[in-house]
């Protein structure tokens, strides 16, 4: 047998097993990623393309709308990540002393809103935010407060979208924090009590530090999700009023499929990727620990 025949005989099944998955991976993910990098340096129409150097990136960074979109996205991501980490941590910690069945019931309840699509949830929020018949303005009225134009007032719209995201405690965080808190040895708390530590000290010195790996993981996935916010904005405000809720992904969508400026849209997408990668890197640097217990 020649070398090639032996190689084929030994490895053909391995390549057979990975072939279908890797085919789709290379055609619909590997190649498009390389193409996206090329597109970012081109002027592209559906029929032709020409190289234009850094023009797309210069256009992106000199555009006021892109800077606004970046700012809106930062605000959204910052508040959503902070609120989600905090609320899921507090809920998971408070759940801990209850019997398993009660815990499971609550975990299910907190996870349930996340199985439906963001489109569905956003449509409900449009109705909740409705100025005349919406639930929220009715509630304000009950307390004698004036109506708010939640999605129509340019100064409030972005905050309303953030509000609609953060009032729902994230199910993933509750489930993962519960699992980690459950695995912290009780002896640590007992030892701390012997030393005379109070509740706050135990929380700050034992619970929070030992949950760092979970916090890091959640922070990274929530930051990525936060920077990719699209559906909520697309449905609730369409970026308005007067572009005050435009986010990066929404701008990419508009640049590509409303202006048909594919080159610039690719440049925007690469900038988004760079921002996400930079944030993930920084979070890993500052939060990664080798906690063991």
């Amino acid at each position: 047998m020649t070398g090639i025949a032996r190689f084929w005989h030994r490895h053909k099944w391995s390549y057979f097993f990975i072939a279908p998955g890797m085919f789709f991976f290379f055609v619909f993910l590997g190649y498009p990623v390389l193409r996206a990098v090329a597109l970012a340096f081109q002027r592209v129409t559906l029929r032709s393309s020409e190289w234009v150097g850094l023009k797309n990136f210069i256009d992106v960074f000199s555009s006021q709308l892109f800077r606004d979109a970046m700012w809106h996205t930062f605000l959204y991501a910052f508040f959503v990540v902070a609120a989600w980490i905090l609320s899921s941590l507090v809920v998971a910690a408070l759940l801990q002393p209850f019997p398993n069945r009660v815990q499971a019931l609550f975990r299910g309840a907190f996870y349930l809103p996340y199985v439906t699509s963001i489109i569905v949830i956003s449509l409900v929020w449009i109705y909740i935010f409705q100025p005349e018949y919406g639930f929220l303005n009715w509630l304000l009225g009950v307390f004698g407060l004036p109506r708010v134009l939640w999605l129509q007032n340019p100064n409030i719209a972005l905050w309303s979208i953030i509000l609609s995201t953060i009032v729902v405690v994230p199910g993933t965080g509750v489930v993962l924090y519960s699992a980690s808190i459950g695995s912290i040895p009780r002896e640590l708390y007992e030892a701390a009590e012997v030393e005379g530590a109070n509740a706050v000290q135990k929380w700050m010195r034992i619970t929070v530090p030992l949950l760092k790996p979970t916090t890091l993981y959640l922070m990274v996935i929530y930051t990525i999700a936060g920077f990719q916010v699209f559906e909520r904005v697309y449905i609730m405000t369409g970026g308005g009023p007067i572009n005050r809720t435009t986010t990066i992904v929404q701008l990419i969508y508009l640049t590509a499929f409303s202006d048909f400026n594919f080159g610039r849209a690719s440049a925007q997408a690469l900038v988004l990727f760079a921002i996400i990668a930079a944030f993930s890197f920084v979070q890993f640097r500052f939060l990664s620990t080798d906690v063991e217990y």
Binding site: H11, I18, V91, A269
Partner: protein, 312 residues
């Protein structure tokens, strides 16, 4: 936590059983429980409001005070929706002359898309996951490293190139145009590799000794053992395709081919945009299957989250 320690004051709050049960412990337990019930209620409120509005007569949805508990529940919204959303041909299976309500059409389109995508994913991902976990072959490390790198790239990066590819392949506004790019998702390969890696190799080797072919070994030994991980992969894939929005929105222009999510956003921008009863009944119809799915497979959903959290 050990069983039989019912309602023990929270360790996280700094109390242990040794501290004993006092009246104040009991008080705090109730406060904590009330707080948890409140935050769960707020989290679930949008979902509750969705279903309540869906069965409230349309005229009552634009009146104050809002009916927090529906006084005359009705199915008129859903009936109206099915009648008013227009009709279209069942194009997705090539039956353009069979005309049914668009709402039903969107439901069928979404179900088919999610089922076919999930089915293909489960087979391909299990095969690849097994090869990466248990077989040594030239290039395995390189390929797996590429998969890990791809997991970090946000989907928006490939949006434009994929659209140009689909256009060149003349697949815009077609079912394969929505389906094919979704099959590049590699999270399933990653999850299955992580799981299959932890399975013992003895059974696999024994099957080979008995003269079973490689394919038989895979289907009769690996697949049954990896069933829990395969179920998790399938459930998350189904949820992802059922709820996906941006890609179908970009590819599909013909309302007959829309998925439920695209159809709902289309309804919202149509003349029914302010008919909240109608909109919510559509949204309810789009979420009921996922909610049933969740209750049926809750255990797998929870497991899947933890598998995903263990970084390889």
């Amino acid at each position: 936590m050990a069983t039989g320690q019912a309602l023990e004051p929270s360790a996280a709050l700094g109390r242990t059983r040794a501290a004993g049960r006092t009246r104040s412990d009991r008080f705090w337990q109730i406060v904590i429980l009330l707080f948890l019930i409140c935050s769960a209620s707020i989290s679930l409120f949008p979902l509750y409001w969705l279903f309540v509005t869906a069965i409230t007569p349309a005229s009552a949805t634009v009146k104050l005070p809002p009916q927090l508990i529906p006084s005359n529940p009705t199915l008129e919204n859903i009936v109206n929706l099915i009648q008013l959303s227009g009709t279209g041909g069942l194009r997705v299976v090539g039956l353009e002359n069979v005309r049914i309500s668009r709402m039903a059409l969107w439901f069928i389109n979404t179900l088919l898309l999610a089922l076919v995508s999930t089915g293909i994913h489960v087979v391909f991902d299990t095969m690849a996951g097994y090869a990466f976990a248990k077989r040594k072959f030239p290039g395995s490390n390189l390929f797996f490293w590429m998969i890990l790198a791809a997991l970090m790239i946000p989907g928006q990066v490939t949006l434009v190139p994929l659209y140009l590819m689909i256009t060149q392949m003349k697949l815009v506004n077609t079912f394969p145009g929505v389906l094919l790019p979704g099959l590049a998702d590699v999270i399933g390969i990653f999850l299955l590799k992580q799981y299959i890696q932890t399975m013992p190799s003895e059974l696999e080797e024994a099957a080979r000794m008995d003269g079973a072919s490689e394919w038989k070994t895979f289907t009769n030994v690996i697949v049954p053992l990896a069933a829990p991980a395969i179920a998790v992969t399938a459930i998350f894939a189904f949820q992802r395709y059922w709820n996906s929005f941006l890609w179908p929105l970009v590819v599909l222009q013909n309302p007959d081919l829309f998925t439920l999510q695209v159809g709902l956003s289309y309804l919202y921008t149509s003349e029914f945009g302010t008919n909240y009863g109608l909109l919510m009944s559509g949204a309810a119809l789009a979420s009921i299957p996922m909610i049933i799915f969740f209750f049926a497979f809750q255990r797998y959903f929870m497991q899947g989250l933890r598998v995903g959290a263990i970084k390889g």
